[in-house]
Structures are given as C-alpha cells and as structure tokens.
C-alpha cells in the first residue's frame, strides 16, 4: 500500500471540499498522484490499495459523518436508508425484515459477520467488480484502461452469461441486486451540493457505455441515502444466493424477486439477477413470462427458462444457466409457499 494522509470528516461540506476523484478514476493509468477519495469502512477501497491498484494521496473518512447512518420507515412514504448504515444493522432491523424481506435476506447473507459489522450500504453499492483479472495488479485489463479482457478467453467460471460486451465481469453488489428489484432510488449529493435522485437501475453503468466506471458517481459526489417505495399491499419478496461455500463467498448466482400477488397469481414481478451481468440484470423475459400467471412449478420453471433464453455462456460458465434457472424458480415458488 502507498503512503497516504488521512482526514476524518466531521461534516458533509468539509468532506466534499476535500475529495477530488472517484476510486474508479484512480485505477486508470496516468491519474494524478494527488487523488483524494472517500473511504467509508474501507473494505473495498483498502483491498484495491493493498494490491497497488489504487494509490490515492489522501483518504477522507466519512464513517463519522452525522446523520448518514439513519434508517426511517413509514408505511406510506417507504423506507429511507442512510448510506453509512452497516449491513449488520440492516440485517437486524425489523422494519426491513417485515416489509422488504429480500433486503433482509441479502443483507444477512452477505460476506461474514465481521464484514457486515463494518461494511456500509454506500460502499457496498460503489464497490468494484470482483473479477480476478481486474483485482490483480499483474493484469492490466480492459476495465483498467488496456485493450485486453483476459477473462473473455481465460478463467471465466465466475463471469457473466448475460448482457455483457467485451468485458465479462459481473457486478459484485448483492444489495444492488435487491434494491434494483425494489425500484429503489439513490439520492446523491453532487459536488456542488445539489441533490440528484436516480433510480437504482440508472445508477449503474455498463462497460459498453463506459468501461472505466461501474456507477454514475462523479468525483466528490456522495450517496446520502437510498429510498425504497412503500411496500405494496400484496407485495412479497424473496432473495436467494448460492456459491460453493456458505461462509464468506460472494454469490456464484443470486436472484431477487419482488412480486405483487393476488392469491397465488402474480400480478407483476420484478426479477433481478446478480453475478450474471456487469450490472444487476433485470430479467424482462422472466417478468413477462410470469405476469398474470398463477405461480406454480410449471409457470415458475417457464419463467426461469425464459430468463436464460438469451444467455450466452463463456467457455467455463455454462453451469450458471442451470443454477440461475433453479434460483429463479425457487424464489418464485417461495413467494407462494
């Protein structure tokens, strides 16, 4: 890790005045060596710094900013989640558990208990992909400014099957998968201290649009809160994740389903796949297939198959198709179990 200075910000203004770069910018070749970036719990940032990928000159600690770890629920207005909330606090919160089941499930299954005690919501959404070529200093990859995606023809067991271009990395954030399914909004404070509210699905950026970043965040912009719409009356949700281990693993595949039901009939559903594509992947095909259907083994299976219709696996990850089909089917069936 490089030498850096440390500034523990006491106010939003002070923090924003300091910061002049996003962490993603520091990963590109030829960046200035005076980059100043935000650090929440630092789990993702320090990983990148220890590997020598990011070498900021100064870190601005935002964990102690007042008010950024608030959580509020109102059955009319919905849920407000401060960016500094830890995953552990989200996992144990009863309003989340009762009204946004899938979010509770994702927050409590992410990482390990000690990581969840530290990791923040904002940092989780702004973390970078886990692609092992991207994460390694030895591989100067497409996303870090070269012309080569090593994973495209290399070791790609964990990589994308849907919605990718040349870069085949998958998005790392489980919370993003779920929050996208809930149609959450991200409230961002711009460097000019204006507020910007964007739907979660517009928050993420495909590498085909801009390969150097994964979110729309510009230097100095700060996620202040996440807003979830009030839970619909007959809306249920479910989240499923699988991997090779239960401890510690990022998902090999994950699915979040939010559906409005009448009885066992699905009025409409949002189905989002994580670890499938470079951004949380909203499966319109699955959503169309299950709309206005009674959810049962055969309709759930049909929706799952529809979701994978356009999947184009790489050399080592065809298995993901089966796994996603399973998770989509099971998540739908869980809603009516």
């Amino acid at each position: 890790m490089n030498k850096f200075s440390w500034y523990d910000a006491a106010s939003l203004d002070a923090a924003q005045k300091e910061v002049n770069a996003t962490v993603s910018e520091t990963l590109q070749p030829g960046t200035a060596d005076d980059a100043v970036v935000y650090k929440a719990a630092g789990i993702d940032l320090l990983d990148l710094m220890k590997e020598g990928l990011s070498r900021p000159s100064k870190l601005v600690g935002i964990k102690n900013l007042p008010g950024l770890d608030k959580l509020a629920f109102d059955s009319e207005a919905g849920m407000m989640l401060g960016a500094n909330l830890t995953l552990a606090r989200m996992a144990e919160n009863s309003a989340i558990k009762e009204n946004y089941t899938a979010l509770h499930q994702a927050a409590s299954q992410t990482a390990t208990p000690h990581v969840r005690n530290m990791a923040t919501l904002g940092g989780n959404l702004a973390q970078r992909t886990r692609c092992w070529y991207f994460r390694a200093i030895e591989h100067h990859c497409f996303r870090k400014g070269s012309t080569t995606c090593f994973a495209h023809t290399g070791e790609n067991e964990n990589h994308a099957i849907l919605g990718y271009g040349y870069c085949v990395s998958v998005h790392a954030s489980s919370l993003a998968t779920v929050l996208t399914a809930f149609d959450a909004m991200v409230e961002i404070r711009t460097a000019q201290q204006a507020l910007k509210v964007v739907p979660m699905k517009d928050f993420f950026v495909l590498p085909t649009v801009d390969r150097t970043r994964e979110t729309i965040l510009e230097a100095g912009e700060l996620i202040e809160k996440i807003l979830l719409p009030a839970p619909g009356k007959n809306t249920l949700s479910h989240y499923l994740k699988t991997g090779s281990r239960k401890s510690q693993d990022w998902p090999m595949a994950e699915v979040a389903v939010v559906a409005e039901l009448s009885g066992k009939k699905c009025r409409k559903a949002t189905i989002v796949l994580g670890a499938a594509a470079p951004v949380p992947f909203v499966s319109e095909a699955a959503m169309d297939a299950i709309r206005d259907k009674v959810i049962n083994e055969s309709t759930a299976t049909a929706a799952a198959k529809a979701a994978m219709q356009n999947a184009v696996p790489l050399s080592q990850n065809a298995y993901k198709i089966t796994v996603f089909e399973t998770l989509i089917k099971r998540a739908l069936l869980e809603l009516v179990a």
Partner: protein, 779 residues
C-alpha cells in the same frame, strides 16, 4: 511389551531393549498422564497473545526486508538497476540473489548468465531492508529489471506436449525434503517430462501385470485429476536474522530448526556451531517450511550488509506463489479383478507438476494398501513455469488416495457389492479391519444405492481408507534437567508447529518421573538444545517422545541412587509414584520428589538420551500391523440443481500407535478432515495460461473452509501397540488428511449417481456432470 489392539488381539511381545532404556509401559489404561486428555501447556499463552511467533519478534534496530519478484514467468535477466532503491531514504541494504535454493537445479551447477534465469512469475530476484515495512514497500517499486522474455507454459497437459516451451534445458535433481514425497535421483528428462519413477521404499513393480489382467474377469480403466493446493498456514514463511558478524541468530517460522541452521551455515560458509536458530512458536507449516528458503538467504545477506537484524515475512500473495504447494496430478489407473472382488492387477501411471520443483509423484498408497499380486507404477514429474511444490501433509498419498479409493469404490459398484465389504476382502491390514468395524458402527453404515434419494437435494454416504508408513528420525535427542528447587526441565531443538509437541514431551517426562504435566517445563525450538527431528512425515511424536522418556528414565535412576542414600536402602527397593520416593515394602519410609531435589549436593542434574533404532528392527519394506491406517466415512448432501455440496458428517477411525494426548490427536484429525474437505471441494490454485500469473493468491478467491464448511466430526481412536520404542507412540498429522477427499467424492457419487473425476468438486463440475448424464439418457 504390549502388542496389538485392546479388545481385539492384545498380547505381549518380547523385545530386546538397550540397557539404558526403560522397561515397557503398560497399556494407556494403566498410566497416569500419558494417553489422557491433557490441556496444551501453551494454550493460555496462545489465546492471550503472549506467545511470540517469528512474526512478532522485535529486535532493537531491526530493519524490514522485502523481496522484488519477477513480473513475468519465463525470462533471462538482461540488467538489474537497484540504484534508485538503494538511494531511497530509509533503505539500509540491497541485495541481488545469485542462485535459487528452492526447486530443482541442473546437476552441472553452471550458470548461463550472471543472474538466475526466471522460471516462474514471482520468482525472487532482489531484496532490500529498510526502517519500516512501508518504506521497504515503496522502495521495492524502484527496482528496475530488464528481461528477455521467453515462451512459457503453466499447464500440466500443455507442458507434456512435444514442442512445449522447456523449463529446464538439462537434467535436474533435487533432494527430497524431510517428510517430503520421494524423489528418485538421476532420472532423465525429455522436454518437461522427467521419469518415470517406478520404485519406492516398498520396492519396485511386483508380479506380472499382463498375466494379472489376463486373469481378470473385470477391468476398470479411469483417469483422475487433482489440483494444485497451497499450504496457507496462518503464519506465513519468514525469518528474523541477526547476522552479528557471523555469530548468527535466526528466528524462523519453521518446521525444522535443524535444516534452517544447516541451510544457513551452508549458504554463508559458516560452521553450524555459529548459527543459532530459534522457533519457539510456529504458526503452522503443513510441509512447506522445512528449509531456509530464498527469503531466508535474502534476510541473511541484508542483515550482513546492514549490520542490523532484518525481519522478512512473506505476505499472503508471496506465500501462495513462491512458498510451496501440493503438486497436481493426472492419474491413469487400470484395475483388474475377479468377480468375487479379489484384485488381480493394478497399473498406475501418473503425471504431476511441482512447477520448477520435483516431487510431484502420487505416493505409495496404490502400491501398499491392497492385496494385489501384480502391480506397477510409473510416476512422472512435469516441469511448468510455476512456483516450486513442497511436501504437503501426506505428500503424494493424498493425490494417490483420491484416485485409488474412487477406483475401488467403482469396482464395488460394478460388482454390486458394499464398498466396505469389498475392502474387507482385499485389505489385509489388521488395524484397518478394526477401524472399518468401529467406524462403520459409529457411522451407522448401511450400503445405499447410488442416486436413490428423491427430490433435488440428495444425501449420499462414502468411505475411503488411508495408508501411511510409520517413519522415525534418529536426530531426536532430549535433555532432562532437575534443579534444587524442584524444577524439571526438558530441552530439545525440536519445534512445535502447533501440533502439541511441547505438551507430549511434558506428559512423557511427567509420567516417567511420577509427576503431573504442569510440573515439567518444556523449552524447545532452539538449536542450542540437543538436536530434534523436523516436523514432517508424522515423525515427531514417534521420534522424540522415546528420547524424552529415555532421558527421564536415566534421570530417575540417578534420583533412585540419591533416594537410596537418604532412605538408607538399595536403589532397587524404591518406587517413585505421585511425586514420592518410597520403599517398595514399607510405604512409610519415603521422601518427596521436591525434598529429595532440595537435598541434592549439586544445583542441577542433567541427563541426555536419544531415539534408538526401533525395537525389533525397522519395519521398512513391510506393511500390515503397525502402520498408520485410517478409515473415514462421509455423509454429504448435494443440491443437484445448484451443485452445492454440504459435508454433513464425518466419522474418522484412526490409529497412531500408543496415543499420548487424546485431545491433541483429535485436533489433528479434525484439522486433517477440514483440510481434506477443502481439497475435495474448494481449494484450487488458478494460474492464467496466457500470463502465467496466479489469479487467486489470497484467501478470498482461493477458497479455504470456514465454520459453515465444517461438518459434525466424530472420532474413533484406536490404540495399536507395536512394541517399537520406549513410548511406542506414532504420529497422526498426515494420516488424518488422506482418506477425506475420496470419502467425500465417493459420498457425492452415492448421492447423485454420477462420478466426478476431477478435483475440486465444484458446483460447476457437478452441474456439468449431471447435465451430461441427462443428455446421454435423453439420446
């Protein structure tokens, strides 16, 4: 001496015992301290953090060393420029390595250029020492190396092809490490392929394969593959060297104080007596820490140049890429059998790569475990541009067992036999017979048809066996001291790598002197003390505890003389029990251990003793009773729609001669099983074929097991007396690890009805295999 297995065939055997060694102990039941569940003497120090590992050592004026490593996998070095690093503020010494002491080396020893050729990505080139780890890290970035890049190969199959880039242009050799896989010397190479090795200490081929296969009523041919596994000890490799003008002290995280000293003396042309190696605590080893290593040589030079102590600990990435690994393998197996299960022929052909090292054989388990009159093996080493392999917990045998024990399972399936019953028929080992019986009872084994569960999540059961030879090492000497204040001290250079060596030494001496474990202070891990064996080959307990008992026994004789004087009788009339010397026929005439010592004429008495040859002669070349067998049973559940495997339960039946400390043995078995599960399901070093760099040199994407991955483990520990030494103890570390992966693999087959031939058994492979099977059925 007691001989055999209690409740089965316990008898008495006569042995000729050297005059200086004690009479036989009775079976554990009759002993006070040995064979019990004794808390580790250093448990408190470890959990409270007062135990000082090498990583914790701080010396006045100490500098921090760091290595510069090759950025490409195969190259000649054109030039090295260290000037900027040299001039960086806070840097005290820079050194460029002149030779590689790890891995294989050409016999000639001649060099093609000034610097060693680069043969793997991450090979050390240079190093420096600076005032802090941070400064060292900044400065190391300033070293510039110009390479002439060469074609490279990192894949086992690619490396075997004609025309593949060649790693070593001439024949090479390498000495096997202590407890490491055999390395047959002088074998020839063709391209990257060296061998085959066809012999072991059990001998060469036996019988006539062709005849054996002609007699067979059933022939099974299968190919098995195992992956590269890295050691991942909690404490990485490292040293603190204080060169001190040639009166050297080396603190080392090592499995061998002896080898570390010898390597250092050799590298620096010093007499062994001027190199002191200290390893009071070592944070795990698993076979990769038997030598000084390039990093140790580097630290030596940096300390010599700077005139200050230098600490050099590898980081986790360096640990993965350069500090050793279990070589991978592809094993072509052919088995002939009669319809009743009797084996007629077994042929084994294997290739494995230890990167730029040797020792990628698949062990002797296929040769030794079953009754099969016709056997032949050919084991090839294949060179690739990857970090050198090292001994790794039951080297070779873990790979070999995965193939052999699945093959036997397949034979049982073909014959429609219970795999346990088949083994009963073809396995002559008495200890494994008992282990099968006791293990099966504990497990509740009833043969189950493969893939018979309904629903997507299926349970399966599997069994596998292990063989490990009993090995000892005569570099095993212990000094026992008693002091006037009653202190009893045990000293040996042997190290404790977390297995509990300190505690077993205290127990054995306490038992002999009629004391309790806590009455004995154990000082080990220092070459100033009498020589100890390396911690490898499951040698230590069987090698060092007899030396300790022998020394304590000699001390006891001295104390008897002293007590006889005080009690006015002959030494032969005295008993020592529960801390008291008393007359055999008059218990009232007595003196306590402490009182006796208080009345010594001198401040301290010292006795030293060594391990002698096995009573009755070493068993090399023979198998059967007395080996370190084991039988493990696994129950798994497999989600056939996600490929997720959970090992639910393991029953492990083991033997290790006379058990000394039940708790510590169980810890070893637990650890062996957890490591075996990780080998079966998770761990896999992945190197990119186009760049030659490891993609997962961390403990995130290199998947280790954590708490959810640990099953319910039940242990059946069987006493197995052989009358081989004054303690009759043996090791357990390696046998604990061998049978697990095949037991799990067999259980997965039993659950899903499809066999996976390739480790680790990941969800991806399970799904692919099931989809394949389904497509075949649909056709």
């Amino acid at each position: 001496m007691p001989h055999g297995i209690p409740d089965y065939n316990l008898a008495t055997v006569e042995r000729e015992v050297p005059a200086t060694e004690p009479p036989a102990w009775e079976v554990n039941d009759k002993l006070k301290v040995v064979g019990k569940r004794i808390k580790r003497t250093d448990a408190l120090a470890k959990v409270t953090g007062t135990a000082v590992f090498t990583a914790d050592v701080q010396l006045p004026g100490m500098l921090y060393g760091k290595m510069f490593r090759a950025g490409i996998p195969h190259a000649k070095i054109k030039s090295i420029d260290v000037s900027a690093a040299q001039n960086y503020p806070g840097v005290f010494a820079v050194h460029v390595l002149e030779e590689m002491i790890e891995g294989a080396n050409p016999k000639s020893g001649e060099k093609s250029s000034r610097y060693p050729d680069i043969k793997y990505a991450g090979q050390p080139i240079a190093g420096l020492a600076a005032v802090s780890a941070d400064v060292a890290e900044e400065a190391i970035r300033l070293i510039k190396v110009e390479y002439e890049a060469l074609d490279f190969v990192v894949d086992l199959d690619e490396a075997r092809k004609p025309g593949a880039p060649v790693v070593f242009a001439t024949d090479v050799d390498q000495e096997a490490s202590d407890g490491g896989e055999d390395i047959e010397q002088g074998l020839k190479s063709s391209g990257n392929v060296r061998g085959p090795s066809t012999r072991s200490f059990y001998g060469g081929p036996r019988g006539d394969l062709e005849k054996g296969f002609a007699e067979a009523e059933l022939i099974i041919e299968r190919t098995y593959r195992t992956q590269v596994q890295t050691h991942c000890p909690l404490e990485t490799h490292g040293v603190v060297v204080d060169y001190n003008q040639g009166d050297v002290t080396v603190f080392a995280s090592t499995q061998s104080t002896k080898n570390t000293r010898n390597d250092f003396a050799k590298a620096f042309g010093l007499p062994k007596s001027r190199v002191r190696v200290i390893s009071e605590y070592t944070g795990g080893g698993f076979g990769a820490k038997h030598a000084l290593g390039n990093f140790g040589v580097m630290a030596g030079h940096l300390s010599k140049i700077s005139g200050r102590p230098v600490k050099l600990m590898l980081d986790r990435k360096e640990e993965h890429i350069s500090a050793g690994n279990r070589p991978n393998s592809v094993q072509f197996m052919k088995l002939g059998a009669k319809k009743d299960g009797m084996l007629t022929a077994l042929k084994q052909l294997s290739y494995g790569t230890a990167g730029v090292g040797l020792g990628a054989g698949v062990g002797r388990i296929a040769q030794a475990m079953y009754d099969c009159p016709n056997f032949k093996t050919g084991q090839y080493d294949v060179f690739t541009n990857a970090g050198p392999g090292a001994a790794f917990r039951a080297p070779g045998n873990v790979q070999g067992a995965f193939a052999l024990e699945q093959l036997i399972d397949e034979l049982a399936v073909e014959l429609d036999m219970d795999p346990l019953a088949l083994r009963e028929k073809i396995d002559k080992s008495m200890i494994r017979k008992v282990e099968r019986e006791r293990g099966a009872r504990r497990f509740g084994w009833t043969h189950k048809k493969a893939g018979s569960d309904k629903g997507p999540v299926k349970k399966g059961i599997g069994v596998a066996q292990a063989h490990w030879p009993r090995i000892v090492n005569l570099d095993s000497t212990v000094e026992v001291r008693v002091m006037r204040d009653g202190a009893v001290e045990v000293r040996s250079a042997v190290q404790d790598i977390g297995t509990g060596t300190k505690t077993v030494l205290a127990q054995v001496v306490a038992e002999e002197l009629g004391l309790q474990t806590e009455d004995v202070t154990v000082l080990i891990g220092d070459t100033l003390f009498p020589i100890g064996p390396s911690s490898g080959g499951s040698i230590v307990t069987g090698a060092i505890t007899p030396a300790a008992r022998n020394a304590a026994y000699k001390m006891k004789q001295k104390l008897f003389e002293l007590a006889a004087e005080k009690l006015e009788t002959d030494a032969g009339n005295i008993l020592l029990e529960a801390g008291t010397f008393a007359l055999k026929n008059d218990a009232e005439k007595k003196i306590s251990f402490k009182d006796l010592l208080r009345r010594m004429r001198v401040e301290q008495l010292t006795e030293t003793a060594s391990r002698s040859d096995d009573y009755g002669g070493f068993m090399v070349g023979t198998i059967g009773h007395g080996e370190l067998g084991s039988v493990q049973f696994a129950e798994v559940s497999v989600d056939t729609e996600t490929g997720f495997v959970q090992v639910e339960r393991m029953v492990a039946a083991h033997s290790c001669g006379r058990p000394i400390n039940i708790g510590q043995i169980e810890s070893q078995i637990n650890g062996g099983i957890i490591m075996g599960i990780a080998y079966a399901l998770y761990e896999d070093r992945v190197i990119d074929k186009s760049t030659g760099h490891q993609l997962n040199p961390n403990i995130d994407q290199y998947k280790m097991p954590f708490s959810f991955e640990v099953p319910d483990i039940q242990i059946e520990l069987i006493e197995d007396y052989g009358g081989r030494s004054s303690t009759d103890a043996s090791g357990i570390g390696e046998p604990a690890n061998i049978a697990t992966a095949p037991a799990v693999a067999n259980a997965i087959y039993n659950a899903i009805g499809v066999r996976i031939y390739d480790l680790p058994i990941t969800p991806a492979k399970i799904i692919a295999a099931l989809n394949n099977a389904k497509n075949k059925n649909d056709e």
